[in-house]
């Protein structure tokens, strides 16, 4: 099956710092989404980005489908950005394959 690798697995940031999370995938995909999982387990949609670049406030994402990677940028990080970020790629019908996540901790 399709492999999804996220890096770095763990990241500690000072509040106000910028960071980049990376997602590599092993095959062509028809969908790519970034999620933030809150402490209660809810997956919050950040971006639906099969290709190109999108921005939403302090977050932005870029997917280069031909090179099989996506990047999530967090600028001016805040403590509320803490949590686990998941990259998920779509294949087949509506199947999503998830990476293991990036655990982000933002300290004040």
């Amino acid at each position: 099956g399709i492999q999804v690798e996220q890096s770095p697995p763990d990241l500690i940031l000072q509040e106000g710092a910028n960071s980049t999370l990376r997602c590599n995938f092993s095959d062509s995909v028809n969908n790519l989404q970034w999620f933030h999982q809150n402490p209660w387990g809810q997956l919050i949609n950040l971006f639906y980005i099969p290709s190109g670049t999108k921005q939403n406030g302090r977050l932005s994402a870029t997917t280069v489908a031909t090179e099989r990677y996506s990047l999530l940028y967090i600028s001016s990080s805040q403590t509320t950005d803490s949590g686990v970020y998941f990259c998920a790629v779509g294949y087949g019908n509506n199947r999503l394959a998830f990476g293991k996540g990036n655990q982000v901790v933002v300290i004040p």
């Binding site: 028809n30 949609n45 293991k100």
Partner: protein
């Protein structure tokens, strides 16, 4: 508009029992998918249903089954529960069969003792 809803939120069962989890998709969405997330891992695909038909199945044993109803809500059933079935079960809905954004519910946390 209401998002994806799941019930119950928490559940405790013992080994060998059976469990039924429920999901209601976003209004107008016809596709429902189920995922299992064990501690420390990303969610794993279990099933996808579209227009009441099974469209995909992940690498899970036959103890796992699901169905979708005419109103597009869905049930996930797990028989003969094992300790390893303890996990967060997530339901996702999307508007179409493929190539579109999925939205997740809050999950059902199942503990098997």
């Amino acid at each position: 508009d209401a998002g994806v809803t799941q019930s119950p939120t928490h559940l405790i069962k013992t080994r060998g029992q059976h469990v039924t989890l429920r999901c209601s998709p976003i209004s107008g969405h016809k596709s429902v998918s189920w995922y299992q997330q064990v501690l420390g891992q990303g969610p794993q695909f279990i099933f996808q249903y579209y227009e009441k038909e099974e469209r995909g199945r992940g690498n899970f044993p036959d103890r796992f089954s699901a169905r979708q109803f005419p109103n597009y809500s869905s049930e996930l059933n797990v028989n003969a529960l094992l300790l390893g079935d303890s996990a967060l079960y997530l339901c996702a809905s999307s508007a179409r069969d493929s190539y579109n954004e999925q939205f997740f519910g809050p999950g059902t946390r199942l503990t098997v003792l």
